[in-house]
Amino acid sequence: MKGMTVVVKKTTQLIAGLVFLYGIYIIIHGHLTPGGGFAGGVILAGSFILLILAYGSDFLHLVREEAGTTLYENLAILVVLVLALSGLLLGTHVFFLNWAPKGVAGELISAGLLPLYNIFIGIEVAASILSIFLALVIFKEEITK
């Protein structure tokens, strides 16, 4: 896949970072505002996809990148599962128990384990959407060859 013109590349350079930051904002405020892990993860993946679309995939090691995203995806979801299982070991021993201290409602660090779930679900969603995108790119390159 070839890159686009210099105008597109420069604009993407300016925008991609902002999109990425916005994704992080959505994820870490998941327990306070609308959105959360899933929505923020999609935005994170969007910033990467924007860069790949603008610059082309020729300079990427697609297969290696795809292996990396798959690894991150599985690690993140495994952490979510471990957090859920930690409820079985701590507190009143219930699956998915929110055992951590809840803090003051409305503050950034509050709601116990929910921000952690959001963060790891965000990584999981970003990585999996990126791997779907990379898999499609790899598939297309294989066809055109």
Partner: protein, 513 residues
């Protein structure tokens, strides 16, 4: 203190799936070892559950969210007499399929993906079976359905991709109908908990609205269960998948995410109406009758077996339908109980013999490289174990004593006669005879027929893991006959029948009123 084993039925296979994807890259053979251990663990805890529960219902409130004003707000997982049986067959067939896959799948690349998807599929089915609320049923159903789409296409050949595409389109339609139905229920009742939905509906409902919801859910889950007007995807999908997956799909998937949910919802959530009961019985009879006629003419072994799945599922639905008709007329509850017991018994038996038959078909394909009955013959000499086990399974499915299929079909036919549905009883017997004919053809062409002028048959016996699974399943086919013995029947089948017959008990145990 809630039973901590209940969430493990979902959490352990999920963890297995993700660990396989991570560590499977670095450690050789980690995938098959991990998958076998996960399934072994699940089999142990499900057997423990069936022995220790003694038919009682246990409720698990995920996250520890207690009911507020007696309205359940959290996610409830419910393990009762019926779900524990389905859990047992899901995990047992899953374990044997994984052991079988150790040899069978080593011919393919990307084994990691296979075992990972397999664990995901099992997690989804366990989740559907244990779930006590509608939306979780939908979520877990999608987990297992999507992983089964990928597994059907595992060979990535033209046929497999076509089959999986068809399966995905129809599966998507089914999921859409189910979600639509769940949405309608949520709109009216403001709750998703199965027991609570029943309570809310019992205070009064609009008849047409209720009927619409019932039809949506019946057609959605009917598509997943491949009852006859909705069966188009099944023969392709089940015959193109790798054989251990065919065994899982035909043996447990259509039951766990299709028949199980239909029975659960129509007995425990909706008030049984005679119209729906007659409709379900008709669908069951059609599946049973048309399925077997579609099967007789097949020459591809796996297609033949797939069509027989439709027909045998017809027995299950028919028998459950007879039970529903009797309950809706409020007469002869003991016959209704017999019909439902027959239906559950046949569901268990079908899981055993149909997965065995698919594993046999896989063994034949593994060793001779063909699925066409006309190209086989004389395999009983070269593959004695496959031949023997498939003989057991063929007799079971055709209903020959002392194998399990005989007893469940007998119970179904007796129940139909006692309920005075003589035509249905006669049809069930007739279909059983046609099934026998069809399996005699399978036996003869695959194992015994030998053209004198044809060159020596190729093929040799398959490796040990495959033999092991087939022999165990053959023994299970015989052992399941024991379920008719009164003491064992009361321990396993009666709790399941009770919970289905008495929806108010199901409701009261969940809402705690």
């Amino acid at each position: 203190m809630m039973n901590p084993l209940i969430p493990l039925f979902v959490a352990v296979p999920l963890a297995g799936a993700f660990l396989i994807m991570i560590l499977g890259r670095f450690i050789k053979h980690f995938d098959r070892v991990a998958a076998s251990l996960v399934l072994l663990f699940l089999v142990i805890i499900s057997l423990h559950a069936i022995v220790s529960s003694g038919g009682s219902t246990s409720v698990y409130k995920v996250g520890g969210w207690e009911a507020v004003n007696k309205i359940p707000i959290g996610i409830y997982m419910v393990m009762d007499g019926f779900s524990v049986i389905v859990l047992c067959i899901v995990n047992l067939i899953g374990l044997l399929s994984v052991i079988y896959s150790i040899s069978y799948i080593s011919r393919y690349t990307s084994e990691n993906f296979f075992y990972s998807l397999f664990c995901l599929m099992v997690a989804g089915m366990n989740g559907v079976v244990l779930s006590g609320d509608l939306f979780n049923i939908f979520v877990f159903l999608e987990i297992s359905a999507i992983s089964s789409y990928a597994l059907v296409a595992f060979g990535v050949e033209k046929d497999e991709l076509e089959a999986t595409f068809k399966y995905q389109v129809l599966g998507g339609v089914a999921s859409f109908l189910i979600l639509f139905g769940i949405g309608f229920i949520y709109w009216k009742t403001k709750t998703l908990n199965i027991a609570d939905v029943r309570t809310v509906f019992s205070t009064g409902y609009d008849r047409n609205y209720y009927l619409l919801v019932q039809i949506l859910l019946l057609s959605g889950f009917g598509l997943k269960a491949a009852i006859i007007p909705f069966h188009a995807w099944l023969p392709d999908a089940h015959s193109s998948a790798p054989s251990p997956i065919s065994a899982m799909l035909s043996g447990v998937l259509i039951k766990a995410i299709g028949i199980y949910v239909i029975i659960r919802l129509f007995f425990n959530m909706f008030a049984i109406s005679e119209g729906m009961a007659v409709l379900i019985t008709t669908l069951g009879t059609l599946s049973m009758f048309i399925g077997v006629f579609l099967a007789v003419g097949q020459w591809d072994i796996k297609r033949l077996l797939a069509y027989h799945s439709i027909s045998q599922m017809g027995y299950v639905v028919l028998s459950a339908g007879i039970g529903m008709i009797l309950i809706s007329r409020e007469i002869r509850y003991e016959v209704a109980a017999l019909a439902i017991a027959g239906s559950i018994f046949h569901l268990i038996n079908h899981a055993a013999f149909k997965s065995l038959l698919f594993l046999n078909a896989g063994a034949i394909e593994y060793s001779t490289g063909t699925r066409d009955l006309k190209e086989m013959g004389g395999l009983s000499k070269t593959m004695p174990v496959t031949s023997g086990t498939s003989f057991v399974a063929s007799l079971s499915i055709s209903g020959i004593p002392p194998f399990n299929g005989f007893f469940s079909k007998l119970i179904i036919i007796i129940a139909a006669v006692m309920a005075r549905f003589y035509l249905l009883a006669a049809l069930a017997a007739l279909v059983s005879i046609i099934t026998l004919a069809s399996f005699l053809k399978f036996q003869r062409y695959a194992f015994y027929n030998q053209d004198p002028d044809r060159k020596k048959t190729k093929g040799k016996e398959v490796p040990f893991p495959m033999l092991f699974s087939m022999i165990i399943l053959g023994m299970i086919c015989l052992l399941l006959s024991l379920l008719v013995i009164p003491g064992i029947r009361e321990m396993i089948l009666t709790p399941a029948t009770d919970i289905l017959m008495d929806p108010s008990r199901y409701t009261s145990q969940i809402t705690g009123t």
